[in-house]
Structures are given as C-alpha cells and as structure tokens.
Symmetry: C2
Subunit: 434 residues, 2 copies
C-alpha cells in the first residue's frame, strides 16, 4: 500500500444484499462521502451473515486497507452476529455500557414504545472498541484501533449509518490525517451530457484524452439511459491541471453538455428556475407523477414548482387540463397535439411561467404498429410558445419512465436557456414579461 494513498475497504454484511432483497445504497453513500474527503475506496465486499466468511473477509480487508468500514448485522435479533464476530476477531468480550443503556431506554420512552431485554442488550459492546454515538437508533457504532489502521462497525440502516459516518467516523479520520500530516491527493470533475453516445463523445475528445493520460488525468464515461456523465480524475501533481482540462472538455462537447458540474439535469433545471424566479407546472400521463416527485426530491422545490396534474386517465386530461376530448379521439392520447395541450393546460391551470406535458406508452403492453411501446411525446410551453418532441425509447417500462423524466427536464432546461438568450438579447423575455 502506498504511503500517499489512503485506502479504505467497505464490508457490507447481510444475506438480504446477496439475494438482492435490498440494494446496497450504503456502499455508494460511503463511497461518495469518503471520496469527498480524499480517501480512496479500494474495494467493497458483500458477504453473508456467516461467522467463518466474516472472519476471513475481515482479515483480508485489514491486510489491504488502512481503514475497514463494516455495515450490517448489529440489530437486536438473532440473525445479527457482527458484534460477536468482532469480539472473536479482536479477542475481546462484550461489556455493558451504562450510559448507552440509559440512552436506549429513553429512546424507547420518547417514542412510547415498550422496551425489551434485547433492546437493552444493545448496550453490550466489545470491550476494546470506542463506541460511536447513534442517536437515530439503538445500535452504536464501534471503532477498533488496530496495528496499521482501524476497523469500524456500523448498523446497516442507512440513516443510522450516515449519522455515525458524519459525526463519528469522518471526524476521527480527519484527525488521523492531520496527525499523520497527509492531505487528500485526488480530485474529480464531472460533466453531464445528453444527446449522443459515449463512443461519439470519445471520438470528439480523443486527442485531449491522449494528452491527459500522459499528464496523469484519467477519463471515465458513465452511461445512463439517455445521458453520459464524463468524469476526470487527477491524482497527486495532476490535480493542478484539472481545472483547465475540465474547461477544455466543456468547450469541445458544448452542444451536448447539460451540466458543467456533473449535476443531474433536474438539478440544473431547479437551479435555473430558482435563479430566474420562474415557476413550473406539470401534466403527467405515463409517468404518473414521477417528474413532480423528481423535482421535489430535493429541498427548496417550492420556490419554483407549483404542482400539476397526474392525468393518467383520459377523463383527467379532459376535466382537469382542458384537453379537448375530440383531440384525444382524433389523434390518440399519445400524440403531439395532446402533449402540447397538456403542457399548455398545466401552465394555464396553475398560472405558471412554464408547463411540461408528458404522454407516452411506457409498456410492456399498449403499443401499436404506428406507436410502439416506448413512444413518448414531451411538450414544454412557455412565454415564447410550445415546443414538442417525440421519442422512441425501448421496451423496458422502468427505463422508459426514467428516460422520459430526464428528457422532459432536458427539454425544459433548453427552453429555459433559450428564453434567457432571448431575454438577454433585449427581446421581450419571460423574466421581464411576467
């Protein structure tokens, strides 16, 4: 292990992860938090709640990484064995912590819930560990110093783990860095593109990439349905060149760049709308509310999002959005004119600056020769008129819904940016006229 690289290994414990009943979002959250602090996650290993496997994986991880972070298996029930395995591994025993037991008791009292002995036993912790406070639940975190580094165990419930990471683990890690005189030596920059594939993007910047490789800047393409995120990573001295590389990347790919900071298209949309003081309303058919849910998933949405209509049925389109029944009859509910009428209806009904209308066939059934599954019409209505685009996504429902939501955000973002240009160039723009 290089002395300059701060190596972390994540051990996720739980049969539910292996059989896919739970998606391992903890590992991703920890990866983000650690990278942001300049630590390098070298490996994530998911193993079952089995003593032998846990002991083996622990030994392997500790031989590779300075810091081993374990999640899972700290609950009060019989299938939770992490604490006992750690006692074995560190050759220590469980001892009762009075203060922690008191906290657990009052945790139950505050919630008016009966406390059981197994709950109190959550205050039994390995003698050689430093307990890490968990105000969100009953399972404490445990910090074990060991030759060559430290090993930490946390509960697998995401918001409990996150609290312990933020308030217990990361501050301790920072202290250790400071003591050792070691600073973070790795930085990332990302951009988000939409509208073309990764091989086209790569061919556009081939010369840049070759130059960056020589200078220690690594390039990665992260394709998602409908978008490609491009990430630049610089280590050590190359960090100094990262900003100019990022600038070159943005310039070269300008017509595909949705976000220069790698933020998602919905984040870029929210930022523009908030900055301009614009409002937005939606009319969602096939997505059933998913666009609205995406917009409100981050705090502060009420500054621009007024709401909308989930017009899943035709009646809802007619009664709540004023889409003419004859138009639906003539063109079909999934059509260019209906998408426009929905966008305009949402804008009018909610008295918003912009309205988005979405209608499509998400699948797996409901397609026709002319309009196969995956056909989606998205319209955006604003002060300078209504734009509509059609898409033919694939046959996968979940994917189609996600791509539709992102495409709708991209169209609105484009319309917003166009409006801005009109406005800035002196023509009557939305920011003045409303």
């Amino acid at each position: 292990m290089s002395s300059r690289r701060l190596e972390v290994e994540v051990l996720s414990i739980g049969d539910e992860l292996l059989i896919g009943q739970t998606v391992n979002t903890n590992a991703a959250w920890m990866g983000q938090a650690l990278e942001a602090e300049g630590w390098h996650v070298g490996r994530c290993v998911t193993i079952p709640d089995e003593k032998k496997v846990m002991l083996e994986a622990l030994r392997e991880a500790e031989s590779r990484a300075e810091l081993v972070l374990i999640t899972g298996g700290l609950g009060p029930t019989r299938d939770d064995i992490t604490k006992h395995v750690l006692c074995d591994h560190f050759n220590t025993q469980l001892v009762r912590h009075e203060a922690i037991e008191q906290r657990i008791v009052s945790w139950f009292e505050r919630r008016g819930r009966e406390i059981l002995q197994v709950n109190k036993d959550q205050a039994m912790l390995p003698e050689s560990c430093v307990p890490l406070d968990n105000p969100k639940g009953t399972a404490s975190g445990m910090w074990f110093d060991r030759p060559g580094g430290a090993t930490v165990a946390m509960p697998g419930v995401p918001y409990e783990m996150e609290h312990i990471m933020l308030h217990g683990v990361l501050p301790r890690m920072r202290d250790q860095l400071k003591t050792a005189g070691r600073a973070p030596l790795r930085e990332h920059r990302s951009i988000l593109t939409m509208g073309t594939g990764e091989s086209q993007l790569a061919s556009r910047i081939e010369d840049l990439e070759l130059d960056w490789i020589k200078r220690g800047i690594k390039l990665a393409y992260l394709p998602s349905p409908g978008s490609v995120r491009i990430r630049l990573t610089a280590e050590a001295e190359a960090v100094a060149d990262l900003s100019s590389a990022h600038q070159l990347l943005v310039e070269r790919l300008t017509e595909f760049v949705v976000s220069e900071t790698g933020e998602t298209v919905e984040e870029a949309l929210a930022e523009l709308w908030k900055n301009q003081g614009w409002t937005l309303a939606v009319a969602e058919s096939c997505t059933g509310g998913g666009l609205g849910a995406t917009l409100v998933s981050r705090p502060g949405a009420s500054a621009f999002f007024l709401g909308g209509v989930q017009s899943y049925s035709n009646t809802a389109k007619v009664d709540l959005l004023g889409v003419p029944a004859a138009m639906i009859q003539r063109h079909g509910a999934v059509s260019h004119p209906v998408a426009c009428a929905m966008a305009e209806g949402a804008r009018a009904q909610l008295n918003a600056d912009f309205g988005i209308g979405i209608t499509g066939i998400a699948g797996p059934d409901g397609g026709s020769e002319e309009k196969p599954v995956g056909t989606v019409f998205i319209a955006c209505s604003g002060p300078s008129g209504t734009q509509c685009e059609s898409h033919r996504f694939g046959r996968d429902r979940t994917r189609n819904l996600g791509m539709t939501i992102r495409a709708a955000c991209r169209l609105a973002l484009e319309e917003g940016r166009n409006n801005l240009t009109v406005s800035n160039s002196g023509a009557k723009g939305v920011a003045d006229s409303l």
Copy 2:
C-alpha cells in the same frame, strides 16, 4: 465448497461504483435472479478498473465459486479494460467476429447514428470465450469455461446485463445443473409487516424461532423505514417444513402483516384494487407525485389508477381540488382537515371509488413548534367515509417522502380491506354500490 451448494460470486467492476457515483443495482438484480433459480451468491466484490486488482479478484473468486459473474468495463472507450484483462487471465487473444460486427453495424444503422472504428472493435472478443448475444447494445457477453466451473463477463449497463443474464447466462446455468443432476436446494418465504419494530416482532415469535433454528430454518429481519420484512430461509430437507412455518408466522403477527407473500405494500394495494375493480385517485402535496409514480411503476396500473393532482402550492389545492381557502387559512396547509379535503377532492374530481390526500412538511426546513419537520397528514376517502392519520417522521427529507408514500398505501389498503369486510358481511359495500 459443498457439492450440494451452487456457489456464485459476483465481481462488479468500475470506479464509479466505488466512489458512489453509481449505485450497484446490478448486484441486487443478479442476486434475485440467481436465488430464484436456486443458486447461492456467496460474495459480491466491487473493484476498480485496474488490471492488477482485477486479476487478483478474479483468481480469488474462481477459487471460491463455481460460477463467477463479472459486470462492467466492456464499453468502447479507453477506460474499459475488462476484455483485455480477461485475455491475460485466460491466456488467449482477441479475434474479430464477423457476425457480431455485422450486428453492431446494423444496430447503428437502425438508429441512424454514425459508426466509429471503436464501435466495430466491440466485435473483437477473446478467442476462448463463447460470445453471448446482446441485442440491446454493442458489448457482447462472454462465457469462459474453466476447470471447476465457468466465468462470465457482461456489460455494466443494467438492461444489457439483464438481457444477457436472462437469455444467455441463466439458460446455460440450468443446462449445467441438469447435466450434473443437481436441483435447487434453498427456498425463501417472506412477509411484510408495518406498525412495530423488529425487536417487538422478534419477542412475539421467540419460541417459533428457537424451534425453527433446530429444524434448519433461518429467520432474518430486514427493517426499512416504516416496515420490517421477515424472511424465512430453508435449506435441504428443511424446505419441506417451510410452508407450515410461514403459516405460523403470519398467524402470530397477524395485526402487523401487510403482505403474506413479502410483496410491497403498493403491490398489495394494486392487487386488491384490481381484483375488486375499484378505482383510485390521489392528491399529493409534499410527495409531489411520488405516490402516483410508485403506483404506475408496475405495468397494469391503468386498471385502477385514474390519476390525481400534485397540489404542491396552495393555489393548486384550492383551484384544482376545491379545498376551501378559508380552511387552509385557518388550519394551515398541513393539517387534518386539509388532508381530508384533498382526499375527497381527488375522489370527486376524478370520480374515483377511493381518494388519497397527502400533506406534510418533508424538511429540512418549514417546520414549527407545533408541526415539526416530518409532520404528515394522510387521508383516505372511500364509500364509507374519510379516514385521516397523522405521522411524525424524522428530519430526513428523502426518508420522510418514502415513509409517507408507504404509509399512504398502507392506510388505503386498510380502508380497502375494511370495505371488503363490510361488503362481504352483507352491508352495502363499495363493490356493490358503485
């Protein structure tokens, strides 16, 4: 490795997974698909796009598992090195497959996209592998037979991986099982509970659990915000006792059981509504459309879901749902009467059998002394009246939104089941009256 256990190890390759830019949903999907076939996923390992680490992890995995499934690093760009590492590992070389190149060329032609040499080079595959067809993209899967088992590489794009798993990998695995005369020897049953914590559940069934342990049935608690899934796992002979154990579990915990099959609360809701021919409308404030999006995320939602109103702003509540402005003025937008009026408004506006109304303070800001962040009112209006319940969730926005959506489904499910009882007992129920 036991000769009865069919051991699989999953190797996920990609820096984006380690730094948390992408959540590893592939591992969960594969875990589910493999378990359903009776295979046992013993370990999932996530590693960076680094040759040395990949070779080491491959050797380790092959020493432990009969089948090693690799995802990621098969794209056309320079950061994708899996194919080259596999050539090294299996001591083979890349050869061009004419038929695959032809397929890639027509893949681009169909989409009207320009093809580059790097795209054509996706037809260069290790000589010793069996290519697995990928009609969803340009990266073929690769099946390598090896002493003691097989190793398979697939692209990391989820829908491409899923297609190759379903059509290339799983059928081959089934053939191998058949040839070897080995049948799946592990079964699961799950139930979903809401309304109490895991320690309370565990104390209720302590005697059952002790008995099951003796008989080889394993019990696991999988807590999520607002619910606990309980999973029974039987291996080998114990499989015969699994049904009766499951039955006992449901009986003992009856008042907390939302689903006897472990399906989610929204799946249980959809099933009941479809079976009864009922319709549903929603009025969502803080969730912004998330309940509707959850309901339409599975196919067939149009059989019962009519749509609704995303009444994020007060104007939307008044104008689109008929909530009296004076009521909002007097009680606040987040209140018992407003939730009821929203549910009734949705039911009336969309002419639905049931309406759900949601209003709350998702956080992190906007709380008060009387109504802190996490306060949510959920109402369900149906043929026998309107029920409203209030919740005080926590301070985490994402968690609050998820818990609200699930709590709303649970309340509606309860109301639906009550209606069913009324209806079945001879009183005028919804199924007759509408």
